[in-house]
């Protein structure tokens, strides 16, 4: 005898544990995965805070990716509490042992006056453009919306900045600022892939703007055609969520470090030399800063620039892409960054080596003492290039 819808619903009710919206609201954060099984258009109208979205029609395909542990607690909900019961049966068939359905669904949740989020709505074109991001549970529409609202600043549109800016632009980072005062030179084109042959002699910030806008018109490109110096560093970096450091001088790097620490802005640092690269993420007060890592710059003969020593074009390419990866994690708020770790890349050996970094408790910029001194308007002196601090004290920007 064929079963009716009423029979199936009765069976599902007898098999699946139901919880109320109040029960779900009272769950401690983090332990239980709450999954919205409605259609995309319903999710876009609003959903439970912190819920994942897997449409009922994709539950079988996507649940193992979203919840790998079959004994982990899962609560499903839909609009009225029916579809989530059937979806919960599917999870039980797949071996999930701790599945509940929220009775009354999202309607009951809203009627109970419980809080809900309205997702940032992406345009149809954005949904298509970023569809591969939207499919990843850790990014999704919320992560994409964060990227679209994010601001990333590139110091240098060169070998590191080129690949990093291209990928952040493609990823939909809403504002990309570029600090560069140089013009495109033929010798740049071996690796600086933002620029093109017909733009030799053109200002790099303009060339970068053309390439980025052609790739993704969602991105607002802000150009800063000036050299980063003590007088402008605060003004330039203010308002950015992350800085991608592609500088080539120690002066600029220390200047950027000191200002970014004071403002609490993360800096993704990379440097390259021939076949090798170094990379780390400086997140103020979470890990060390550049001065903790290298308290004083080396003499010039120990650290020649790329224009003297040369560099294999792919090395800044690879390191720049790793910078973009760090920036995306910082902006979306997922994963583990390289804060406290220095990653070395050797292109000839094809090896990555990881070194442990620590905060210097005596750091003149990021130590507790340094923070307190800045707050009082008397920043601690930092070493001047080529001279010990004791001989030539110098304070960035002077007292506030």
């Amino acid at each position: 005898m064929p079963k009716t819808y009423a029979d199936l619903l009765r069976e599902a009710r007898s098999q699946i544990r139901e919880v109320t919206p109040q029960d779900v609201d009272a769950l401690p954060g983090g332990g239980t995965t709450v999954i919205d099984v409605r259609e995309d258009s319903e999710w876009d109208q609003g959903h439970l805070p912190g819920a994942l979205h897997i449409s009922k029609s994709y539950v079988e395909q996507q649940i193992e990716g979203a919840v790998p542990d079959r004994d982990a607690p899962v609560v499903l909900y839909c609009a009225g509490g029916v579809r989530s019961l059937f979806a919960a049966q599917t999870l039980e068939q797949l071996g999930y042992s701790n599945v509940a359905s929220m009775s009354g669904g999202f309607q009951a949740w809203k009627s109970a006056g419980l809080p809900w989020d309205k997702p940032v709505s992406l345009t149809q074109e954005q949904k298509q453009r970023y569809s591969r991001h939207l499919l990843i549970p850790e990014v999704g529409a919320e992560g994409q919306a964060k990227l679209l609202q994010s601001k990333a600043l590139f110091i240098g549109a060169g070998g590191l900045g080129s690949p990093a800016a291209l990928y952040l632009a493609a990823a939909g980072v809403g504002t990309i600022g570029i600090v560069d005062f140089d013009v495109v030179d033929l010798s740049n084109l071996q690796r600086q892939i933002l620029h093109t042959n017909d733009r030799v002699g053109e200002r790099k910030v303009e060339s970068a703007r053309k390439t980025i806008t052609a790739l993704n018109p969602d991105v607002n490109v802000v150009t800063h055609e000036e050299m980063l110096v003590a007088d402008n560093v605060d003004r330039i970096i203010t308002g950015y969520d992350v800085v991608i450091d592609g500088t080539d001088t120690f002066e600029t790097r220390y200047l950027l470090n000191d200002a970014a620490v004071a403002k609490g802005i993360p800096v993704i640092h990379a440097s390259v030399f021939r076949f090798e690269g170094q990379l780390t993420t400086f997140i103020p007060f979470e890990g060390p800063c550049y001065r903790c890592l290298y308290p004083t710059p080396p003499p010039p003969e120990l650290a020649p620039g790329c224009s003297v020593a040369g560099v294999l074009g792919v090395v800044p390419g690879i390191m720049g892409m790793l910078q973009a990866n760090e920036a995306l994690k910082v902006l979306i708020g997922i994963g583990d960054t390289l804060a406290g770790r220095l990653l070395l890349f050797d292109a000839l050996d094809a090896t990555f080596t990881e070194l442990k970094l620590r905060r210097d408790p005596a750091c003149p910029v990021c130590s507790t003492e340094a923070v307190a001194a800045r707050a009082e308007g008397h920043p601690l002196p930092v070493p001047v290039f080529g001279a010990p601090a004791a001989e030539q004290p110098f304070v960035l920007g002077g007292p506030a």
């Binding site: 240098g156 450091d245 592609g246 080539d248 030399f273 004083t296 120990l302 070194l355 442990k356 210097d360």
Partner: protein
Amino acid sequence: MSVVKIPTVLRPQVGGNKEVELGGATVGEVVEALTAAYPSLRTQLLTDDGSLNRFVNVYVNGQDVRYLDGLATTVADRDEVRLLPAMAGGEGRER
């Protein structure tokens, strides 16, 4: 014998070698053995009073010796001692 990893910029001073094997029970002894074999390295690694220059970091098995025991950090057989100066090349512009 520990394995001392030489950064590219210092390789010309150690016969082009990427790494050299040296004896020594502490970082100080390893550095002493290194600078004895390749005297031109001494001024780049050590200050006049014999301490490590601040612009060269030394890691033993991935840990910065500044946060271990500095030059007194013990080095066991087959440990990896890595010399690592800061790199300039951020590649923003040609100079």
